[in-house]
Symmetry: C2
Subunit: 352 residues, 2 copies
DNA sequence: TTGTATGCGTTATCAT
DNA sequence: ATGATAACGCATACAA
């Protein structure tokens, strides 16, 4: 339903924006040079108080606002950076984005949202913004494999910081991320302490370091027998993987599932419920991320809390520290602590 | 924990970014004029194929990418717009942002994320981006009251579209939003049909049209006795309002609560649970928005689904339709349909 | 088919 | 204390 009020005469017809006042217009109206106007506004050099007052009057009267575009061209930087993420509607990335935006805003930078939907073309287009120097830097929070080579060529030439996800085989990067291995370890210890000995692990795509680290920490600390299945971090894949195993009888007497993220854990939960398997009575389920929904589902999900906000904030703040000085950030890693949230989806295995 | 790998010698020392190649550099290296380079790249006029090939070779060799900043200055527009929202970590706005980003991307525009945290200063700073013409337009999705006058001055002068929220007293705007009144009506009818006659309504801030519309539709369709309490759309206020009423005995024999958004409904749910009031046994609770968590809480929340993605997408697509032609959008309203999601938090009132 | 000159709006440099 | 001029990097009107 669309209603156009124009015909109702409720709005005046002035479709085309008229040219905004420029510094020249102000200068002419105030009887001074553009240089003086510039200095009145910037305070970069002393101006006679009377002259300044006159200029300010004209500025107000004309509603003059300096064109930041021209300023950027002259300065060689835009004070805008990009944030590249796969999916803003995933609360993990939304929190990360919030941290990034906060950090950017604090330092006077704007943030362009580059939502890729895991689409390589889209990612490429956004990476083009940094090559065309429309943005001063990029916080990159998506480990989608196709772009690694592209990223490699950019990094070192342009200021890029990695958030959350290490990209396999990428050297020399500034990165802020959670301690994935410790997270996996916490889960392993928790399940082991509860008495579980046979587990199913749902991993993320093979080429993501974070996933490997989670798996490694888990397997090591758990000590028991672990079967791995590769998913894609989406709810569907968690569902499918578990359902398939259940159907094929491959689940056997496994009593625990560790999913590499909460979404896949939700999928696993759904598959188990449909199959009439009780959680945590028959099988315990653990996720990773601690997105908001994790504490709301029933049973509530035991998971590893990732400091998404801090990851975004740290990556951005670190990046800007270098960007603001016109430098490319050096390789360094900022590891943020994780925390195991024990909730209702884990319990000791049922006695057999 | 921060580890700097620089000292480890793992990265080469080239801190400062060297000047990128410009069109002049390409022209000189190819032995042609900048004009020709420009035309080879833009295709705006025919160029001899040999010349063009030579130019392209140099472009590749030098890694030349046109500075979009300079292009924007010349063109008078940046192909970037802003999206102003109060809180990206609220899934409603995250979905809206996704829709906006999709629409912007489809039309070749970038989107600057302006997260205000309901902070007026922050909002002002972001609105400044449009005055300085760094962005070509703004999708405004926050009805925080302090800025109405500021907004009024901008609208008509700059391309702004309102998403989701009508700002009270603002005329002449392009707006895309849900059918709030119909939503309220659906809830009223639902509760009435279940047999409820006395309800508590938790509204949003007084000066938001959407809230008023929801309340109006609800009160009218419900027909019974309604007590209203004003909240601020945050979970806390839903909790506080209900807890206070419960403590003061003001809840009386009310059997239903309609919160103007899901967050407040969650708060209400928590307050009722703490007071030992069963939902939906003793009291039914209804929310508004249908954020992801609504279907996950226990009991799952009956609520009105708002098409957040569509709202963001529609507002943005409409705005860009005018922006791309250098026009200021005319007043028009795009009303998107809502849908009642009946879940576990509503039931007939207990017989007394 | 190609080149020259000009302008976009600002700030820095160099003069006065 | 103020101004003239150049430069940022590109696109285009005009000329050849």
């Amino acid at each position: 339903m669309t209603r156009d009020l124009r015909e109702a005469g409720l709005t005046q017809q002035r479709p085309v924006v008229r040219r905004a006042a420029s510094i020249k217009d102000v200068a002419a109206a105030a009887g001074v040079s553009p240089t003086t106007v510039s200095h009145v506004l910037s305070g970069n050099r002393p101006v006679n108080e009377e002259t300044a007052a006159r200029v300010r009057g004209v500025v107000n009267r004309l509603g003059y606002v300096p064109a930041s575009l021209a300023r950027s061209l002259q300065a060689g930087s835009t004070s805008v950076i990009g944030l590249l993420i796969p999916d803003i509607s995933n609360t993990f990335f939304a929190e990360l984005a919030k941290g990034a935006e906060d950090a950017a805003h604090d330092l006077g930078y704007g943030l362009i949202l580059c939502n890729t939907e895991f689409d390589a073309d889209r990612e490429d287009r956004y990476l083009g913004m940094i090559r065309s120097r429309f943005i001063d830097g990029m916080v990159y929070a998506s480990g989608s494999p196709p772009s690694r080579r592209r990223l490699e060529a950019l990094m070192g030439k342009f200021p890029i910081a990695l958030a959350d996800e290490e990209v396999e085989g990428l050297r020399g990067a500034l990165i802020a991320g959670a301690d994935h291995e410790a997270g996996g370890r916490l889960v392993g210890e928790h399940l082991r302490a509860l008495g579980h000995r046979r587990a199913l692990m749902l991993t993320g795509p093979r080429d993501l370091r974070s996933g490997a680290a989670r798996a490694h920490g888990f397997v090591q600390a758990f000590g028991g027998e672990v079967v791995e299945r590769v998913g894609d971090f989406k709810e569907d894949s968690g569902y499918r993987l578990v359902a398939e195993l259940l159907d094929a009888g491959g689940f056997e007497d496994r009593t625990a599932v560790f999913a590499a993220n909460d979404l896949m854990a939700f999928g696993a939960l759904a598959a188990l419920r449909e199959a009439g398997v009780s959680v945590p009575g028959d099988v315990s389920v653990v996720g990773f991320d601690d997105i908001r929904a994790a504490s709301l589902v029933s049973p509530s999900l035991t998971t590893v809390h990732q400091p998404a906000y801090d990851i975004g904030r740290t990556a951005t703040a670190q990046l800007l520290q270098y960007v603001s000085r016109g430098e490319v950030p050096p390789a360094s890693r900022h590891t943020l602590p994780v925390e195991l949230k024990v909730r209702g989806s884990t319990a000791p295995p049922a006695a057999r």
